[in-house]
């Protein structure tokens, strides 16, 4: 080629062959792209399918058994028609109430500590072990609670079940509290301190109040999770065929009742199990919705212009 001259040349045979191959290859590559799109979309559909099926069956098989009697009556002995799960519904409410009584203060307190002592050695260990606690299988929490609270006392109790569930709530509440408290700007704390607020007062009244919406959400979300747990209750609350609201006695709970009825050989009880499952899901749904509404309501302080 002569230097200094730029000439456009006709593509050589080799160049033509390469671009021809590229054009054909592009078609193939585009086909692959299309196939993958379909495959992935299928994956999405298949993933959501079980959810649809489960909800469908729950409603189909459970809704018909839901009447007032279900909510107000006790379970009937085998063979007799009717009966309900009143004791289990109340029992669940009591047990998750106990769980909150135990898990909430520890979770919020730990969360406050973590937020105020960021890099401290103890804070990092607590954060790490909180994750460990979160990952412990629920059956392990159950046998722990049995060993620690049932065995020495000699009998099952609602309290031991509440403690097992409460312990499972702690990591999430602590994490949410820490995150929410961190979002409170330092300038707010400073303003309170400059007014003569003590640190404890600043933490509890100013910081916690500002972060409360998010914390409430975290508490309710973790509550929704433990409300459906069965394994920790198997050897703690144990279940109770009779009406009992005592926290030092065994107590019925929805998940336990559903389990017992489901594995029984009686059709009647199967029917009740479906109904119970529907109620349980509804309860979890209600708690989740309240969590979301509670967050929004906080910010709607009256404008009154």
């Amino acid at each position: 080629m002569t230097a200094g001259a730029i000439r456009t040349q006709r593509p050589s045979a080799r160049q033509r062959a390469v671009s021809e191959r590229a054009r054909k290859g592009l078609g193939r590559r585009r086909a692959v792209n299309g196939v993958m799109l379909v495959v992935l979309a299928t994956a999405a559909v298949v993933t959501v399918l079980p959810l649809v099926f489960i909800l469908f069956h729950l409603v189909a098989k459970g809704a018909t058994s839901l009447d007032i009697a279900f909510f107000t009556h006790m379970p009937k002995p085998v063979g007799e028609a009717g009966g309900g799960m009143a004791n289990a519904i109340v029992g669940t409410l009591i047990v998750i109430g106990l769980a909150m009584a135990f898990g909430l203060p520890v979770g919020v307190g730990a969360g406050l500590y973590l937020a105020e002592n960021r890099g401290a050695w103890l804070a990092n260990s607590v954060r790490f072990l909180s994750d460990v606690l979160n990952g412990l299988p629920s059956i392990v929490m159950g046998i722990f609670a049995w060993q620690f609270l049932v065995r020495p006392v000699g009998h099952f109790s609602a309290l031991s079940g509440g403690v097992a569930l409460g312990a499972m709530m702690i990591p999430m509440i602590a994490r949410t509290t820490e995150e929410m408290v961190r979002t409170v700007p330092a300038s707010l704390r400073e303003a309170a301190l400059a007014l003569g607020y003590a640190r404890w007062r600043t933490g509890l009244t100013i910081v916690l109040r500002t972060a409360s919406a998010g914390i409430v959400t975290g508490v309710l979300v973790s509550l929704a999770r433990v409300a459906g747990e069965t394994a920790p209750l198997l050897f703690t609350a144990f279940g109770n065929q009779f009406w009992s609201t005592s926290i030092t006695q065994p107590i019925a709970a929805l998940p336990l009742q559903i389990f017992n009825y489901a594995i029984s050989p009686y059709d009647d009880w199967h029917r009740l199990a479906w109904a119970g499952a529907l109620v349980l899901i509804a309860l979890i749904l209600v708690i989740s919705i309240v969590a979301r509404v509670a967050t929004r309501a906080r910010f709607d302080t009256g404008s009154g212009d």
């Binding site: 959810l51 730990a110 990591p171």
Partner: protein
């Protein structure tokens, strides 16, 4: 008028030179507050230590008596007081493996679809539906499994796999198929574990910087090629972390598995045969544990499960954390 009484007149008051400025005092309030939150914080490691301790102590007699054979022997006989947890350990690992094999492609597939291909408006609702899978309690999965999944497996699925696809000639699908089986347990576990893998994958994929995708696309790659060559390798360790997180969940699942696995102490190669997992073993036999030895053996199983779960979860957290903090920050 003391310096600290408050009335409108005081706003303009002249606090004269004789006014006592009460500026001395103690701050107990702060000390109590700090003590209280430190106490609550310490409760967390205390609780973990307590759980491990109580179970270890209760299970120790079994470990001491049987030693390592506890983990390797298949002989579980409460009457003769011989305890080998191998079938249960085997079952836990196999059912979890099945779950991961099924759930991973689906979960990663959904996540890739949502973050790369699907129109923006789809992300929230479909993502929400996938997350909803995690909200369904284990016992409800078990209930549905017993009355919907098992009949479905018994006829037509299992006969189809064994006879029509001729998979019955392999050891993995041989033998009678009544329904309750490792396969059933693996399937339900797959559904339960899917949302966890999907959630982590979604976060990790969204965290991949746009520049990666754009660079690939600018070079003329198709959408899929950009994902396969540029995005997925970047997100790989995070996604693997999510998979291991799902593994951690699968290992500890109790209720749904108990209701679907058949609860038989047997190591069988066939997926169509019933089996056992550590969690369902405890759930089934704990209430009727006849002797102290039996109880201790179950506690030993619990301790084994505890240790395995802690290790697996630690690996998962480390992997996800390595990719970039955010994805690991939301416990499910």
């Amino acid at each position: 008028m003391s310096g600290s009484s408050v009335s409108p007149a005081v706003l303009m008051a002249d606090n004269g030179p004789g006014t006592v400025v009460r500026i001395h005092g103690r701050h107990i309030g702060d000390r109590v507050y700090r003590g209280a939150i430190t106490f609550f914080a310490i409760c967390v490691p205390l609780l973990v230590a307590l759980v491990a301790w109580e179970i270890a102590v209760a299970g120790w007699p079994t470990f001491r008596h049987f030693g390592l054979s506890f983990l390797t022997s298949s002989d579980w006989d409460p009457v003769k007081e011989r305890f080998g947890a191998a079938p249960a350990i085997y079952g836990t690992l196999v059912s979890s493996a099945i779950a991961l094999v099924i759930a991973t492609p689906l979960a990663v597939g959904v996540s890739v679809f949502l973050s790369e291909f699907a129109p923006r408006w789809m992300r929230q609702p479909v993502g929400f539906l996938v997350d909803l899978l995690a909200a369904i309690p284990s016992v409800v999965y078990g209930l549905w499994g017993i009355f919907v999944l098992l009949p479905l497996l018994r006829d037509p699925v299992m006969p189809f796999l064994r006879d029509t696809l001729k998979l019955g000639s392999t050891p993995f699908f041989s033998g009678p198929a009544y329904g309750p089986s490792m396969l059933a347990a693996g399937l339900i576990l797959a559904i339960m574990v899917l949302p966890y893998i999907a959630s982590v994958s979604r976060e990790v994929l969204l965290a991949v910087p746009r520049a990666q995708r754009e660079a690939a696309l600018a070079l003329g790659a198709t959408r899929w090629e950009a994902i396969w060559r540029a995005v997925l390798p970047y997100a790989k360790s995070g996604i693997i972390g999510g998979i291991i997180l799902g593994l951690g969940r699968a290992l500890g699942e109790t209720m749904a598995v108990t209701m679907l696995i058949g609860n038989r102490q047997e190591i069988s190669a066939s997926l169509l045969a019933p089996g056992y997992t550590m969690a369902s073993l405890i759930a089934n036999e704990f209430s009727e544990a006849s002797s102290d030895a039996h109880l201790s053996a179950l506690m030993a199983v619990g301790f084994t499960l505890l240790v395995i779960t802690i290790i697996v979860n630690a690996i998962a957290r480390w992997l996800v954390w390595r990719v970039g903090g955010g994805a690991a920050s939301k416990p499910l």
